[in-house]
């Protein structure tokens, strides 16, 4: 085990021990801060309900993520090809993007109801924006000399896109995809908190109303574990796809 990993693990363990000790020694009431052991115990106690809720949130996040990533990528490729349209559209995209996505959540609920659809739309919206902006940045940041070289060999705009721009943009696209994983879970949970009958966001909202703060922490723990898992999966994919990094 290398030193950095050992120190990292040490930091994590130290934090947990400190947390547990402070809560126990200062007798912090659980509604302010429960000890980690209490959170784990509660999580285990209500595991079946949390798993159901987590599965629902994960489903919304993954579905929205897939749709958003595909749309963002296709849109970025289209705009990379059409320069005049891009110059017109991009500033407007930036303006729309300057409003935090959370502000659009009430609209999505009103339009698409309190079922899974409104969450999927919201996740697709934020993932789409993130992937679009990252991918477009990567697609446009190619060496003009390389473009000229491919052109001289008779490559059309599509050929340049496929053989040069996409491989060059891959690292930027993967960064967008990685950043989006955590955001997709957060947005799914936020939208669930505002209105739904299922999912982790709903569990948190309900537990807050019942002043059951251990269950809030348990839901946060499950949500964090799921996002951490998704984040690790996309990072592993990134190392595979961008193998030359």
């Amino acid at each position: 085990m290398n030193a950095a990993l050992a120190r990292g693990l040490g930091g994590g363990v130290l934090l947990l021990v400190l947390w547990e000790a402070v809560v126990r020694l200062a007798q912090v009431p659980p509604w302010i801060l429960p000890p980690p052991s209490g959170i784990v115990a509660t999580t285990w106690l209500v595991r079946s309900a949390l798993l159901d809720a987590g599965a629902m949130t994960l489903f919304e996040a993954v579905t929205g993520y897939g749709i958003g990533a595909a749309l963002g990528l296709v849109l970025a490729m289209l705009l990379a090809l059409a320069t005049p349209v891009r110059k017109l559209v991009l500033p407007m995209v930036v303006v729309v993007n300057s409003v935090p996505v959370a502000a659009y959540a009430p609209l999505a609920l009103l339009w698409f109801g309190t079922g899974a659809l409104s969450k999927i739309v919201m996740v697709a919206f934020i993932v789409g924006f993130t992937v679009f902006l990252n991918a477009l940045d990567g697609l446009l940041r190619v060496d003009p000399a390389a473009v000229a070289l491919l052109r001289s060999f008779g490559a059309g705009p599509l050929g340049v896109l496929w053989r040069l721009r996409l491989p060059t943009a891959l690292p930027a696209i993967m960064v967008g995809l990685r950043v989006s994983t955590v955001r997709s879970m957060i947005v799914a949970i936020v939208t669930e908190m505002l209105g739904s009958q299922k999912g982790l966001g709903w569990t948190i909202f309900e537990a807050v109303l019942q002043i059951d703060f251990l269950r809030v922490w348990a839901a946060i723990l499950v949500a964090s574990l799921i996002s951490l898992g998704c984040f690790a999966a996309v990072s592993a994919l990134e190392r595979r796809v961008v193998f030359w990094r």
Binding site: A3, A4, R7, G8, G10, G11, G12, L14, L15, W31, I32, L88, P91, M92, V94, V95, V96, N97, S98, V99, P100, V101, A102, A103, Y104, P106, L107, L109, L110, W111, V182, M185, I186, I189, V190, M193, L194, G195, L200, G201, I204, V208, F213, V216, W217, A219, I220, A223, S224, S227, L228, F231
Partner: protein
């Protein structure tokens, strides 16, 4: 010139909005005409002004605190390798926690005060700043550090005269991203029982199913975001005056 670059997309978007509603007969349930939304803001001017100021204050406090903590952490991580190994993984893990879920707990800790929303805004802001500031500091050529040292520069001199200025462009990249995140934190923080602010307005519009009020609140949110972003851009133009040469 900068004003023109800002005004053109705004006017285009406004024209697109009005035009689409009129030509495509979009139901006002989805998109009410822009002049109706603006009229509603005008009619309740003082209420919107107050919400704007309250949310701006919450986001700004969290944003400034996040920026300071981010730069200080980067400095500490740069100077003490062991500290970085120990804390940086925790920083990363902290960002996979859906902070919004903490909203209720943070409000419990701080009460329904400005501090509660600022705390959430802070949580979302400090990480991107830390990462970018650290990357900026690490990218400095060690030979430049060695040169300054050979002239007898102290650690403090090296930090203020070389490391921090070199990292500034990257720090501002993170700050521009964080401006939006801080606003998101403030808005969501207001959903846990606040009565004043852009987020509270959004929630009230949702409960009353008032689409016009919802769009008005979204425009107010855009105004807050635009204000913070604009100030950051202005400060950046002042501090990083060599940016265009990069």
């Amino acid at each position: 010139m900068a004003l023109l670059r800002l005004a053109v997309p705004l006017l285009l978007l406004a024209a697109l909005w009005e035009g689409a509603v009129a030509l495509l007969h979009i139901s006002p349930f989805y998109l009410p005409p822009l002049r109706q939304v603006l009229g509603s803001i005008y009619a309740f001017g003082p209420a919107y002004a107050q919400a704007f100021l309250v949310t701006l204050g919450e986001a700004t406090v969290g944003f400034v605190a996040g920026a300071l903590v981010g730069v200080v952490s980067a400095a500490a991580f740069h100077h003490a390798r062991w500290l970085r190994d120990m804390l940086f993984p925790l920083f990363i893990a902290s960002q996979t926690v859906p902070v919004i879920a903490f909203g209720a707990i943070v409000v419990l800790w701080f009460g329904n005060t400005l501090l509660a929303k600022a705390a959430i805004a802070f949580y979302l802001t400090f990480f991107p700043v830390t990462v970018n500031a650290l990357a900026g500091v690490e990218a400095v050529d060690p030979r430049q550090v060695a040169l300054l040292r050979s002239f007898g520069a102290s650690r403090r001199d090296i930090w203020w005269k070389l490391l921090l200025p070199s990292a500034l462009p990257r720090i501002f990249t993170a700050l521009r991203l964080s401006a939006g995140l801080a606003l998101a934190g403030a808005i969501v923080g207001e959903w846990f029982g606040a009565s004043i602010g852009v987020g509270a307005m959004l929630l009230a519009a949702l409960f009353n199913e008032q689409v016009v009020a919802m769009w008005a609140a979204i425009l107010a949110a855009a105004a807050v975001g635009g204000t913070i972003f604009g100030v950051v851009a202005l400060v950046e133009a002042r501090l990083v005056f060599w940016r265009d040469e990069l």
